[in-house]
């Protein structure tokens, strides 16, 4: 049976800003190895950083990060053990009444920079799955 998974790495870290930086750096390195272009790599790294920051701020003692590179996508999962997040209740940071808020743009940026973002409620906690598709191969390449 064909297996499209080319590589996968996952780790569990304590809930800290050092962990956020490590997860962000890992995302950047894996996106580079996966062949994303220089404009896309920082976007992926930032989306992953925002997800990890959310996990630290709203989670509990530790966060789990996994990175899976397939033939057509980079799939990143960030999970925490916090009280859970309902994405439908996150205020729209572009709404006029929210535009001058000092926070609340993390989820928005994740959605802006990734192709797919999925939320899954754990018990306890939240898992965010961030997916970035590779560009389709050009004819003749």
């Amino acid at each position: 049976m064909a297996d499209s998974t080319t590589s996968r790495v996952s780790f569990t870290l304590d809930s800290s800003l050092d962990s956020v930086n490590k997860i962000e750096l890992t995302a950047e390195q894996i996106a580079q190895r996966a062949g994303f272009d220089e404009d896309t790599i920082p976007h992926i790294a930032m989306a992953v950083r925002e997800a990890a920051v959310n996990a630290v701020l709203h989670g509990n003692s530790h966060i789990t990060a996994s990175f899976e590179t397939t033939s057509d996508s980079l799939i990143i999962r960030i999970a925490d053990q916090g009280p859970g997040l309902d994405p439908d209740k996150v205020p729209d940071p572009l709404a006029p009444e929210n535009i001058l808020r000092g926070s609340g743009r993390g989820i928005f940026l994740i959605k802006a920079f990734m192709d797919e973002v999925n939320f899954r409620q754990l018990h306890p906690g939240t898992e965010l799955t961030l997916i970035k598709h590779r560009m389709p191969a050009q004819p003749g390449t």
Binding site: L17, V20, P42, M46, R49, E50, V53, P93, L94, I99, L100, R101, G102, S103, G104, R105, G106, F108, L109, A112
Partner: protein, 115 residues
């Protein structure tokens, strides 16, 4: 790399030259403290020079917004100078580019403050 702030005065305007990263736990608190110090010293015309900011995340963007509203609520003005492409793009995406008064030239920025 953490963020650094260098403060100088030009024609009654306080210029904060920022360098490094503005992220949660790094530069965001530094900006808050720097703006608070400027206001405490009686100046409320502030130009944030972001030319050497290599990276900013949503916490950093939020801190810029908070600084803007804090200064505005004190009757002052806060403007941004020398945005890198990354910061410019983030402010566009978050629709904050038109909220801030953004300048590309220091002399023009200094002249634009209310005298």
């Amino acid at each position: 790399m953490s963020m650094k702030v260098h403060t100088r005065q030009v024609d009654g305007i306080t210029i904060l030259d920022l360098s490094g990263r503005i992220t949660l736990g790094e530069g965001s608190v530094t900006i808050r403290d720097a703006v608070r110090d400027v206001l405490a010293k009686g100046s409320n015309k502030i130009l944030l020079n972001l030319g050497d900011i290599s990276y900013i995340d949503s916490s950093g963007i939020g801190e810029l917004v908070s600084a803007f509203t804090t200064v505005k609520n004190s009757g002052g003005e806060l403007k941004l100078l020398n945005l890198t492409k990354k910061v410019h793009d983030l402010l566009q995406i978050t629709k904050l580019y038109t909220v801030f008064d953004v300048k590309d030239d220091e002399a023009t920025a200094i002249a634009s403050f209310t005298k």
